[in-house]
């Protein structure tokens, strides 16, 4: 598939935004249970704002993928059958939820819905945050299933696709939370940092599993099934167009083979070992610069990862477009 940069930015940005919100909410939940010191509202407000900006930027990026962005509202129509439609519904819910969560912290509404006695006053943000966290997981599911549900793109048709979207997005958000907490909440740096490392290592395991799976895939479609001729030697002489078509532009990544192969190693290095090292050294030396660079480098690696995710997908229609002529 041809990696569209609008979709690459959409999925990586909202992944980081969702992960950052989950990190904030995890911190708040722990503080209710007295496992972590509670933070002031500014920490949650600014954190929600950053997550909000990431999510909205991702949404804006997605519009560049559309031929008719002015009709984008129509995309909410077919949620019964289309994972894309479901994503279109859940993404604004998450964005709105994160916004409300941030606003509630900013306003300092310590409304107690259930009256649970903890050292944090009020549970309104906890209840709202729980719903937003659920929506966040639903959004990861929708985003992953958009790709995983296409059964004949075999590289994508796997539960690993959804798991990777979940873990890579969450890892990115937790790394950002680690860096972010150096300013407002130094007590949480190690908490977020260790979780960021755990999630990053888990993501390495599942992403490596999908790479290994894809390396051993046996494509079910072949030239024989594509044109229905049972012969072992079939070669295309003409695709019916001299200058290419939508089919040649949309479904081939078009990058030279050396670049395609090297991107895999680029993202494997930038997403996993480098941020892990930077996280470790940043936490031990209390250096915000190292922690922020961990996020930036991992994000660049995630762009490469998403590019590779698309480029590696082998669409069966490519069987019909082997030779210009």
């Amino acid at each position: 598939m041809h990696p569209a940069f609008s979709v690459v930015f959409l999925t990586t940005l909202i992944g980081a935004g969702q992960g950052l919100f989950l990190a904030l909410y995890t911190g708040e939940s722990y503080s209710v249970l007295n496992l972590l010191p509670p933070q002031n509202s500014l920490f949650y407000t600014i954190g929600s704002l950053v997550a909000f900006v990431l999510l909205v930027t991702g949404l804006l990026a997605s519009f560049f993928h559309l031929g008719h962005p002015e009709r984008a509202w129509r995309a909410a129509a077919r949620w019964r059958t289309s994972w894309l439609s479901r994503e279109v519904i859940v993404l604004p819910i998450v964005i709105g939820g994160v916004f409300v969560y941030g606003v509630l912290h900013h306003l300092g509404w310590e409304l107690s819905l259930f009256g649970i006695q903890t050292n944090v006053r009020g549970d309104l943000t906890l209840v709202v945050g729980a719903f937003v966290a659920l929506a966040t997981f639903a959004l990861f599911l929708c985003t992953g299933m958009i790709y995983a549900c296409i059964k004949f793109i075999q590289e994508w048709h796997s539960s690993l696709t959804v798991i990777n979207y979940l873990l890579l997005g969450t890892a990115s958000g937790f790394v950002l939370a680690t860096a972010f907490s150096t300013y407002g909440a130094p007590d949480l740096v190690n908490f977020y940092g260790v979780w960021a490392m755990i999630i990053t290592v888990s993501a390495l395991a599942t992403r490596a599993a999908s790479l290994i799976r894809n390396a051993h895939l046996k494509q079910r479609s072949s030239m024989r099934t594509a044109i229905g001729v049972r012969h072992s030697h079939i070669s295309q002489r003409s695709m019916g167009a001299m200058g290419g078509s939508f089919n040649t532009r949309e479904f081939f990544h078009g990058a030279p083979m050396w670049l395609f192969r090297s991107i895999k190693w680029v993202f494997l290095v930038l997403v996993f070992p480098v941020p892990l090292l930077l996280l470790y050294s940043g936490m031990s030396s209390h250096s915000p610069v190292l922690l922020y660079s961990a996020f930036v480098i991992q994000y660049i690696g995630l762009l490469a990862e998403r590019w590779f995710f698309f480029a590696q997908a082998n669409h069966p229609q490519n069987l019909y477009y082997q030779t210009i002529g």
Partner: protein
Amino acid sequence: MTQLALVIDLNVCVGCHACVTSCKEWNTSGEAGFMVDQNPYGEDPTGTFFNRVQTYEVGDYPHSETLHFPKSCLHCEDPPCVPVCPTGASYKREEDGIVLVDYDKCIGCKYCSWACPYGARELDEKQKVMKKCTLCVDRIYDMSLPESERKPACVRACPTSARLFGDVHDPESEVSIAIREEGGYQLQPEWGTQPANHYLPRRKMRITIHEDELERSDNPLKKETDRPEGPVQAPTLDDVTSW
């Protein structure tokens, strides 16, 4: 239930592209808007087509055959492109099984083209909506045309009658008989899309010639003369054929 479809006889197709050009001519002139052509006379000409004829070489030269392969939307009975559409622009008609795109609802997200294993959908680079074969839906029901012309443009253009059009759910239709009796098959059956369009395979075209067809059995002297006069009760073969 009606399921209109094409049956394409690969044994007869000569790869002349008449179906491609007539398809483009008819559909670019319709009220749905033209099908864009970019750089038609320049480098890398490209554009929107509903139908393409491809050419394959089967076997190793010199023991190879050329196969011309027209490809358009197959109007699957279980079309994977329809449920993925977020807007409902892509739909399959209940009444005749044609898979269509509502150009006014399409947002141009290209997701349906990802979900088509055949590459039958093409995004129009000018109108920015997804386009595909409509089986000339604006033609086959046009009562102002004589009934013989209510067929897709490609079918009418084919000089070798390689394209048949009809209802594949009617067991007595021309297309159903062709599929049944001439080994009609579907493309990429492994995905369960059940394409309505079928293809008829290449066949070995051999004529067995018997001795008596080279040497007339009623000419034992092996030379042409006047027919022997005689009491002939029944007409011989020569009386009823022209050779």
